[in-house]
């Protein structure tokens, strides 16, 4: 410290430089707008369009612009989700997006979406390019379609992953966490990749296949928390990963089904030496998801089942593991009146299907038994005020804490309560 001080003192130029840097920093600090102002501003802009009702912008006939914004409120009996939800509730949950699409030619299309997300400590006013891609149609006939997507592409994964941030497209405010865990959200979102997709349709239905290879967006603290359970000195990064989804739906979509699998490769690059840091490790995640849905005018029944293989090696004992998790949910949506919808769901997650009550893993790794499973009964209600405005509420009765998110909001697993309740309220607007 002294040495540095003397050196600095002796170097007027350097001092002046540092001083100017400080001024610059202060200038930018003054410019940084509090997040509530950004959020408020977005509301004002979007609210202005409400009077116009849902009408996408067809700027020219080749360009479409869409968007959405959701504000949520979470209240929990114990355990935190998206902020201090256990202390009178948390409004710390905002998601918004602007989506543009340009089709200059019948075979070429460009599409991009910018996402704003505020969700507890894990996502603090993040602006991100959610997707930005070129879609090229190789072949299109009445029966077949074949094409490629290049760039940052959303990950096809089960029924809901690609549009998981849009409340209008998901059945509940909180997606079934057993399959769409928000803790692993960043890895599942999108990847810088190439996809090939194909479709075959016939009188008996529509068959589709998407195959992709790329680098998932996995360089954030969230990923580290999701995979390692803590924010360690080093950084995680993603290696080449793969995903594929085979889908089938009958004509009119009465039955929809899909099988998804992926191989997600995440690495950890330590910064310090043990015991202050982990060793450089590798986490290979291979899920297989089976999805099915039955749709009638008033009723939709949905079920998804997944087994998830996790193999973490090289991190050091206490972190290395090889286990297979199991997840499933059963969900009924009932449109009991026009613009009103009721939802009931039972969602189950086991981090280790050979240790469903978590006791063996508690003994082995130390974290409480209830952090290895979660069973969630959900009831929810939503009302579409008009095609572009909706309000939703839901109540969860939960046994287990396996998917608690984000981990930073709940730093100590021993403070978690095994049985807890969650209430959520959200309003959403889209155009």
């Amino acid at each position: 410290m002294d040495i540095f001080g003397k050196r600095l003192f002796g170097n007027k130029m350097l001092l002046q430089f540092i001083h100017s840097q400080h001024r610059l920093a202060n200038f930018f600090k003054a410019l940084i707008i509090p997040h509530w102002m950004i959020v408020g501003f977005l509301y004002i802009i979007l609210g202005w369009y409400v009077t116009e009702r849902a009408q996408a912008f067809d700027l020219t006939e080749d360009i479409q612009l869409h968007g959405f914004i959701t504000q949520g409120y979470f209240l929990t009996s114990d355990n935190r989700i998206f902020g201090k939800s256990d202390e009178g509730g948390s409004f710390d949950y905002t998601e918004a997006g602007i989506t543009g699409s340009w089709t200059p030619h019948s075979d070429f299309r460009f599409a991009a979406q910018v996402l704003f997300r505020r969700a507890g400590i894990g996502n603090n006013n993040d602006f991100e390019l959610d997707f930005g891609l070129l879609d090229y149609t190789i072949l299109s006939t009445v029966d077949y379609r074949l094409g490629v997507r290049l760039g940052r592409v959303k990950t096809p994964f089960g029924f809901y992953n690609e549009t998981r941030d849009v409340l209008f497209t998901r059945p509940t405010i909180l997606l079934p966490q057993s399959i769409y865990a928000d803790a692993q959200r960043d890895l599942a979102m999108s990847s810088d990749s190439g996809f090939i997709y194909g479709e075959y349709r016939n009188d008996w239905g529509n068959l589709s296949l998407e195959l992709g290879a790329g680098i998932p967006r996995g360089d954030s603290v969230d990923v580290e928390l999701g995979i390692l359970g803590d924010d360690f000195p080093g950084e995680t990064y993603s290696e080449l990963s793969y995903v594929g989804r085979l889908g089938y739906e009958t004509q009119g979509g009465k039955f929809r089904m899909a099988i998804t699998s992926a191989r997600v490769d995440t690495r950890y690059d330590p910064k310090l030496l043990p015991p202050d840091d982990l060793l450089g490790g590798k986490d290979i995640f291979i899920p297989v998801i089976f999805s099915g849905q039955y749709n009638r005018e008033k009723l939709s029944l949905t079920a998804e089942y997944a087994f998830r293989s996790v193999e973490a090696t090289g991190f050091g004992s206490g972190f290395d593991r090889k286990m297979i998790g199991e997840s499933y949910y059963l969900q009924a949506e009932y449109r009991f009146r026009q613009n009103w919808q009721f939802v009931l769901r039972y969602d189950v997650m086991y981090n280790d299907r050979n240790d469903k009550n978590g006791r063996k893993n508690e003994a082995k790794y130390g974290s409480p038994a209830h952090t290895w499973f979660a069973k969630d009964w959900t009831i929810g209600l939503r009302h579409y005020i008009n095609p572009s405005f909706l309000i939703a509420a839901e109540y969860h009765s939960i046994n287990g804490t396996a998917w608690i998110v984000p981990i930073q909001d709940n730093p100590d697993p021993f403070d978690l309560k095994r049985r807890w309740n969650l209430f959520a309220l959200a309003v959403s607007y889209r155009f």
């Binding site: 849902a54 009408q55 996408a56 067809d58 006939e61 479409q64 869409h66 959405f68 997006g97 989506t99 699409s101 089709t103 019948s106 299309r109 599409a111 991009a112 979406q113 997707f131 930005g132 891609l133 879609d135 149609t137 299109s140 006939t141 009445v142 379609r145 997507r149 592409v153 959303k154 690609e162 549009t163 941030d165 849009v166 209008f168 497209t169 997709y197 479709e199 349709r201 016939n202 009188d203 529509n206 004509q251 009119g252 979509g253 749709n295 009638r296 005018e297 449109r335 095609p387």
Partner: protein
């Protein structure tokens, strides 16, 4: 399913919406329910000659749209809406252009090359080509 027929004489058919295309469109082999499902589901984007298909619809809650979805496409309007939203917000497609009235529908389909939409039978005139299947 390649049936083009004149539906006169069938009284119940009078209430059903009719698929209309721009007069320059020659739908050829696209005259099946699966093709129209794919077109209005925004998954079939090119006519047989390679030109772009421009899809026009009315609002989700308009009676003609509901009638068209349920009785012609045999899909519930909420399913179409979800399918379009999935395309738009995943970057894999677009939604149809929404129009305000049947008058506007007739005008847009009549004046836009490659256009397809639907109208009540009583609204059809020579500016659009009606398709029965």
């Amino acid at each position: 399913m390649l049936i083009i027929c004149i539906m006169s004489g069938i009284s119940s058919a009078d209430n059903l919406p009719v698929v209309v295309v721009n007069p320059t469109v020659d739908p050829k082999s696209f005259l099946s329910r699966s093709a129209f499902s794919a077109i209005f589901g925004m998954r079939l984007r090119k006519w047989e000659d390679g030109s772009q298909i421009k899809v026009f619809v009315l609002a989700d809650d308009s009676p003609l749209h509901v009638n068209f979805s349920k009785n012609i496409l045999r899909v519930f309007p909420y399913q179409l809406r979800l399918a379009w939203d999935r395309l738009v917000f995943s970057g894999t497609g677009e939604e149809p252009t929404k129009l305000k009235s049947e008058q506007q529908m007739r005008e847009m389909v009549g004046s836009t090359p490659g256009a397809i939409g639907y109208l009540s039978r009583s609204m059809i005139d020579e500016t659009v080509k009606a398709i029965n299947f």
